[in-house]
Amino acid sequence: MALGKVFISTISGMDYRKSPYFSVGRASDLTGSDRLLYRGLEMLPGLLAWGTIIGTIIASFFVPVWAAYFIIAFDLYWLLKNAYLSIHLRHNWRRIKYNVSLDWKKMLSNMKHERLIHLVILPFYTESLEVVGQSIEALTKVRYDQKKMAIVLASEESAGEGAKEIAETIRKKYAHFFGHFLITVHPKGTPGEMAGKGSNISYAAEDARKKILDPNGISYDDTIVSAFDVDTVAYKDYFLCLTWNFLTTPDPHKVSFQPVPFYNNNIWDAPALSRVVAASSTFWQMIQQERPEKLATFSSHSVSFRSLYEIGYWQKNMVSEDSRIFWNFFLARNGDYSVIPMSYPVSMDANLASSFFQTAKNIYKQHRRWSWGAENIPYILFGFIKNKAIPLRTKLRISFNQIEGFWSLATNPIMIFFLGWLPVVLGGDFFNVSILSYNLPFLTRNLMIVSMLGLILTGIIFISFLPDKPKERSRFSKVYMALQWILIPFTILIFGAIPGLDAQTRLLFGKYLGFWVTPKHRK
């Protein structure tokens, strides 16, 4: 449904929430010049990525010396950036270890928190009973009064009878543990919605409001919603830690709470490729936890119900609802919204399928979906243009961070592993007899080798977070877990840059992605 253009020069705060721009999913939701503008902004990430790649190729051909200078500068930038980020990673590693070892019950002992209710939404589609059961089982074991918890198992009508049966089995087995237990069934084919997690959890949140919060007189202010992926296994003090963060934040309705996603549920069963890619995602989130101004919500996250209710829950017409909800809040509150990095883990599934090839395919698709988060760039920039109440400095900082982030994802590994050699290949005979031409590959290689030394740290961190080794695993398993990091140059290219470029190219040409549910397979 196309939204009409709103002829107001200044929209701000909750006014923006009420404007038709707030829930834009894609350019075709708008009309006239707004549509053109939004479409142009959708093209921006792809244009920048391809512009960089094609620009480097052209420069390598016509001005190879300048291309070589650029590549040397870029290699050094990459090395120093890695070093800079690894400081953040190391600090967050220490912080997570500290937080996991902390007695959060004691931390809460002097705080009144009995009024708080944790509403946990677990959306599922066709995942197995084992997957759903493991997550619910973990909720029964967390150190929190389960009677202060409301569990919403959010199923999809389109998933059929099998999903319904799983939901009922779960209800029979676990409902009595919790203060409230609700199964919601998101109707299929609702107009204006995209089938996916966003539409499902929005429906579930509203259903929970009507069936749990309102009938029981539970304050929206005192309800903390945790929107989990269905494979999310909460660590034992997650809700205590979340409660502490909620209570110690000056205004808990102006923030979202972001745990660190570990992919430990099946880490001992997943192939090395999957482990490396999953851990890389974890490490990236750990780095972002130390840079909260760059942090947006990702995957499983928590937020106050009041905030959610005010903006109408998650967007239902797009893929990246987990990060979009943050930008919804950000625009609705004129930039006065942030993410609290909890530095406390939740555990999820690493990609695992019945065959190695299928696993690799799933990893690619999952990362393409995550990279599709670039759809937030037009939303943010368009919102910044329309919402005049956000300070210009904030707009510039956020715009740069977001654009640079997606540009880096899609181009940097390609530039590092391919473009470094281009001037030598395309530069012509005169360039090829220059000392610069001979030194370029050596410099690129050496800077990359130094850069890769950081992998030692990542290997150590990865092993430190591993769950106990299953007895059937050989005693050398941990050695393999350390050696797997040599796959990094391959994985950041094949499962980082390429799906990133794929997603941005689709956005560039208006070939919009739908929501793809990552299959959860257990051995």
Partner: protein, 288 residues
């Protein structure tokens, strides 16, 4: 435990930014050949690149052995060389030596492509006839010819000489390989580059100044010639006293190496690895 403070992060960021700002010009200067000289001044250096087709060969610059080539690394790149001339030698036991005086220019890599042929190459005769059976015999045998079968390999080889001889006038004078031509002008060979300077083989250019013709000097008149298979810088020449391989590269004295010391022979390139040699009616193969 608190997150990294903004202040500390700014310090780290400033530190790495400073390293970046300082390192970039230094790296670029290094990559383009600038070095600190003996007098602590900035000097521009160049490099040498020598390609060697064999492993186990020793590469000398002046009297200093720079490297022994291996299966994995047959080429040598030496930088930090002051501009000037350098004597490069490549030696390997059992092979003829290759040496060249190469000029090194600032910020440029001077390339040299060595070739080293065995001191002794063996001609393998292609017999005209087979004995009835599989045993090969020399044509000089006293056994009656009716017991022999004509060797088809000999016939084919002979044909390759006959075929070209029909066009001998032009073929013996001019041979063209892509944009590189070889012309025999009264017994002296000239190599000409017909393309642009951007794509000229390295030996046509010195410090980015290119010429379009090189004379190949030999001790006697060139009777027959052809490109050496797989190389654009080598030519096989039949002189009055034998068959040689010479390089076109005339940046210093051209290396010429003997293949076969048999006078007045003719030859054809059969494949990338084999020459056909004809001496009167006898035919041979020569593995190169």
């Amino acid at each position: 435990m608190k997150p990294l403070s903004i202040r500390r992060r700014r310090v780290y960021l400033s530190f790495f930014s400073l390293i970046f700002i300082i390192s970039i010009p230094l790296l670029i200067l290094y990559a383009t050949g600038y070095r600190i000289g003996d007098a602590l001044n900035i000097v521009r250096t160049g490099g040498l690149y020598v390609s060697v087709p064999y492993s186990g060969a020793q590469v000398f610059i002046g009297e200093t052995i720079m490297k022994e080539t291996s299966i994995f690394q047959k080429n040598i790149f030496v930088q930090n060389l002051k501009p000037g001339s350098y004597d490069v030698r490549v030696l390997k036991d059992g092979l003829q030596a290759w040496s060249k005086r190469l000029m090194v220019f600032p910020q440029t890599v001077t390339e040299g492509y060595a070739f080293l042929f065995p001191l002794k190459l063996v001609l393998v005769e292609i017999p005209e006839f087979f004995m009835d059976g599989t045993e090969k015999i020399a044509t000089s045998t006293m056994v009656s010819k009716k017991n022999f079968l004509r060797n088809p390999e000999y016939r084919t080889a002979l044909l390759s000489f006959a075929t070209t001889s029909t066009a001998s006038t032009s073929e013996d004078v001019l041979k063209i390989k892509r944009k590189l031509s070889l012309e025999n002008r009264g017994g002296t060979l000239y190599a000409q580059w017909k393309g642009g300077p951007d794509s000229a083989p390295h030996y046509f250019c010195v410090n980015q100044v290119c010429k379009d013709e090189i004379m190949i000097k030999t001790k006697s008149k060139v009777r027959k010639f052809d490109f050496f298979p797989g190389r654009d810088d080598l030519v096989i020449v039949a002189l009055s006293d034998g068959l040689y391989v010479t390089e076109i590269d005339d940046r210093s004295q051209q290396n010429i190496q003997l293949l076969v010391a048999v006078p007045m022979l003719d030859f054809r390139v059969q494949s990338d690895e084999t020459l056909l040699i004809k001496e009167d009616k006898k035919l041979y193969t020569l593995s190169i």
